[in-house]
């Protein structure tokens, strides 16, 4: 690889590298202002839902079971404390995918596309399950694969969850490049793309996001088959936004227009994601607010010029849960439903346990993912690691959890509470960021229409917000 990377030199070539490595000229969709044509960009995938289903089926991806959590539903009804409350909870067992998570759906499409375009290999920058998914799909398609991970702090202490994912990638034959903490990972990533000429299997490409649409579509079909209803609520773990965006688009494609779409993240408020010292003070490496909030309010911060993951377009509610609550639910899932699954994937389940209590007994709530578990990527391993980092662990009220200092396991399931994030605050923040990013003097009518669509608000809301911004 190019050893001596000069930050500015590589960054200057960024657009050219991106264009060559993903086969999309993003400037085709730009208007010159804040707005760009999102739907046109999504059409650029060139795959219909039917085609995506076929690609995924041939790669062994998708058609995962939808399981009813009867015992968790019982427990949630007991906690609701009001007769008639407590929706039926279902879980889409995405751990059944080849590499153990819903990320196979994103990877199947991206790798298929890379092969079709004639690339010799794929590269992805990810510390999450997506790496294993891309590596697995690359193995199926006979392509080379490089995964670039942020993995260690400067003392060489690695998050057990990330190290396990590296192991999985290597098991599928991928080369894993592991780095210390810091956003300059992007430089290494760009440099590898440039040197190899491989495909950028970005998490945020239109192919990647469209790959998740099958998940939303399937879960509606399955819910209908099992219950005769469409889901009243779907809860998606939210980090970079692709999971929620793709699922919500799939729900719409299946006609589930009235389903409430909820994003759920682990609350990591106060931790800086680029801090070397704080890197190992958290027990969740994804599905947390450290990604969830910045990616909601400024989606175009990833490894492609325009992200296809734009959650504010689709999210009806956004809630957070604490680390201790997710660990508790992971244990409850094993003990009550016989499903041992990875903690990070249970973020939405912890939120769902609380949200179900707001709904009526005949309503249906679907948790749209689970993920695999194993050595390192397991509650016990992660609590052990947290303790070694000096984090206090004990029972109490999860609302007293101090991120980076403590993990509070709820004393009882009645203390598990999904906490709402003010979506209007995020929408305002989005509009502010969009204006700053564009360094615009004036916002055109086209931009206002775009911002209203992006934030799922009205042109009036956007104009009021813009007036506020000008006033301050």
């Amino acid at each position: 690889m190019a050893s001596d990377m000069c930050f500015s030199a590589v960054m200057q070539r960024k657009n050219a590298i991106m264009k060559a490595s993903i086969g999309i000229d993003y400037s085709d969709f730009e208007t010159g202002g804040i707005a760009f044509d999102y739907e046109a960009m999504m059409r650029e995938t060139g795959y219909s839902l039917k085609e995506m289903k076929k690609i995924q089926r041939e790669a062994g991806v998708g058609s995962t079971p939808l399981l009813e959590m009867r015992n968790l539903t019982h427990l949630s009804r007991k906690m609701a404390g009001k007769p008639g409350k407590g929706a039926r909870i279902f879980v889409k067992d995405e751990a059944s995918n080849p590499s153990g998570s819903f990320k196979d759906r994103r990877a199947a499409n991206a790798v298929y596309h890379a092969k079709r375009l004639g690339y010799g290999g794929v590269v992805a920058a990810t510390s999450g399950n997506y790496g294993a998914a891309v590596a697995s799909q690359a193995a199926i398609n006979g392509l080379n694969c490089i995964i670039v991970q942020e993995c260690y702090d400067s003392q060489g202490a690695g998050q057990p969850e990330i190290i396990e994912k590296a192991r999985r990638c290597e098991a599928y034959g991928a080369e894993v490049v592991q780095l210390t903490v810091g956003p300059e990972l992007f430089l290494t990533f760009l440099s590898i793309l440039e040197d190899t000429g491989y495909f950028n299997a970005s998490l945020y490409s239109p192919f990647g996001i469209a790959g998740v649409e099958t998940l939303g579509f399937e879960l509606v079909e399955q819910t209908r088959e099992l219950t005769g209803r469409i889901p009243d609520m779907v809860v998606c773990t939210h980090a970079g936004g692709g999971n929620l965006t793709g699922t919500a688009r799939g729900l719409l494609a299946a006609g589930a227009k009235d389903t409430t779409v909820v994003g759920a993240s682990v609350n990591l408020k106060g931790l800086h994601m680029a801090s070397d010292r704080q890197f190992n003070r958290k027990s969740f490496t994804t599905g947390h607010t450290g990604f969830g909030i910045p990616f909601a309010t400024k989606p175009d911060r990833s490894d492609v010029p325009r992200s296809a993951a734009r959650v504010l377009r689709y999210m009806d509610r956004y809630v957070t849960v604490n680390q201790g609550e997710v660990f508790y639910m992971t244990e409850a899932l094993a003990r009550l439903e016989g499903l041992e699954r990875g903690p990070a994937g249970n973020t939405s389940l912890a939120a769902a346990f609380s949200l179900a209590q707001e709904l009526d007994e005949d309503q249906i709530l679907v948790v749209q993912e689970t993920e695999y578990t194993g050595a390192g990527k397991h509650v016990q391993a992660q609590l052990t690691f947290a303790k070694k980092q000096g984090v206090q662990i004990g029972f109490g009220d999860p609302k007293d959890e101090v991120v980076g200092e403590s993990i509070v396991l709820p004393e009882g399931p009645h203390l598990i509470r999904a906490v709402d994030v003010d979506l209007d605050r995020l929408r305002r923040s989005y509009i502010r960021n969009a204006c700053q990013e564009a360094q615009c003097n004036g916002v055109s009518d086209q931009d206002v229409v775009f911002l209203a669509a992006e934030t799922r608000t009205t042109q009036t809301f956007v104009r009021e917000m813009l007036n506020e911004l000008t006033a301050t």
Binding site: N71, L75, C145, E170, E175, Q178, G182, E331, A332, A375
Partner: protein, 105 residues
């Protein structure tokens, strides 16, 4: 005998960016450290731990860096026994005891 023979599977470390050259936008604690990188591959010539060596990765890329480990293995585990997790299991079973038994009948 050298610690690694040509053809051995090894792990190397290299500095990608020195502390002085790091991005100005990152937190101070991170800026005080270098950006480091670890890669595994087949070593191309005999060498000892600490030597600057060249490896070829699984997909055939040549990368050079400091040799740090020969035959690197995974040391992941399930951590220590946690009483609290056992207690959570007992608690949720206890809360549902009647319901679960009723369902079974």
């Amino acid at each position: 005998m050298r610690q690694a023979r040509a053809g051995d599977w090894v792990r190397i470390y290299r500095k990608v960016i020195s502390a002085e050259e790091r991005s100005p936008q990152i937190p101070d604690d991170t800026r005080a450290t270098e950006l480091g990188m670890w890669v595994k591959g087949t070593i191309q010539a005999d060498g000892d731990i600490g030597d600057h060596v060249e490896v070829v990765t699984t997909i055939g890329r040549r990368v050079s860096g400091k040799l740090i480990e020969v035959n690197p293995c995974y040391e992941l585990d399930f951590g220590e026994f946690r009483r609290d997790l056992l207690d959570i299991g007992t608690q949720v079973r206890g809360l549902l005891k009647n319901e679960v038994e009723t369902d079974g009948k």
